[in-house]
């Protein structure tokens, strides 16, 4: 069965510093991978997704993620964090043969001045 692990519940980053949020998945074949962001009181918004091809994926708001098959990881990165990036971030995994996505438990990002 598919599963997703986001090992960090909370992360605090200074404004202007770089960010990396970790995501590890469990699935036997090549998965579909997603990162979503949820601002307080809002629904989830897609940041980026990986289906195939180039393993470095660019998304909205200056985010990128890299698929590493050997590590079963899909970590999210941003070179310089802005205060407006404070939110909760969810990694999700899907596959062509499955009818649903499986979400991680989320990482809450706090941005300090």
């Amino acid at each position: 069965a598919q599963s997703v692990t986001q090992p960090d519940i909370h992360i605090t980053v200074s404004e202007g510093a770089s960010l990396e949020l970790r995501c590890n998945y469990s699935y036997g074949a090549t998965p579909y991978l997603f990162w979503y962001v949820q601002s307080p009181g809002q629904g989830l918004q897609l940041l980026l997704k990986y289906f195939s091809g180039d393993t470095l994926v660019q998304g909205i708001k200056g985010f990128e993620a890299e698929f590493k098959r050997s590590q079963s990881s899909f970590n999210l990165r941003k070179p310089s964090v802005h205060w407006s990036d404070a939110a909760e971030y969810f990694c999700a995994v899907g596959a062509r043969s499955f009818q649903k996505l499986v979400f991680g438990t989320g990482t809450r990002l706090l941005v300090s001045p």
């Binding site: 989830l44 897609l46 997704k49 009818q99 649903k100 991680g104």
Partner: protein, 112 residues
């Protein structure tokens, strides 16, 4: 632009009441989903539907039912609300089952 709307942002109900949460999408998507979100547990799938009048149980269907009479509308029903159903409920839709899901703003339900 893609749009998923949910009937209420906040809802307060009493134990034992029947509760309806409505979700509408305007993207002609085949698939619709209901999740509940609780701190530390992430998103858990309650039910999903891949076509009109079709439904599949998700990971936590107990205490819930759903209805999909029209393609654009997917309703979540709490037959007899209980306090442990206090949560944030999120609706989503997608064109293909394993592809991008588009989410509504959520309904925060409190059961007293």
């Amino acid at each position: 632009d893609v749009k998923v709307t949910q009937s209420s942002r906040y809802l307060v109900k009493r134990t034992g009441e029947k509760v309806f949460l409505e979700c509408v999408q305007d993207m002609d998507h085949e698939n619709m989903f209901w999740y509940r979100q609780d701190p530390g547990l992430g998103l858990r799938l309650i039910y999903f539907s891949y076509d009109v009048k079709m439904k599949e149980k998700g990971d936590i269907p107990e205490g819930y039912s759903v209805s999909r009479e029209k393609k654009e509308r997917f309703s979540l029903i709490l037959e007899s609300a209980s306090t442990n159903q206090t949560s944030m409920y999120l609706c989503a839709s997608s064109l293909v089952t394993a592809d991008t899901q588009y989410f509504g703003p959520g309904t925060r339900l409190t059961v007293l």
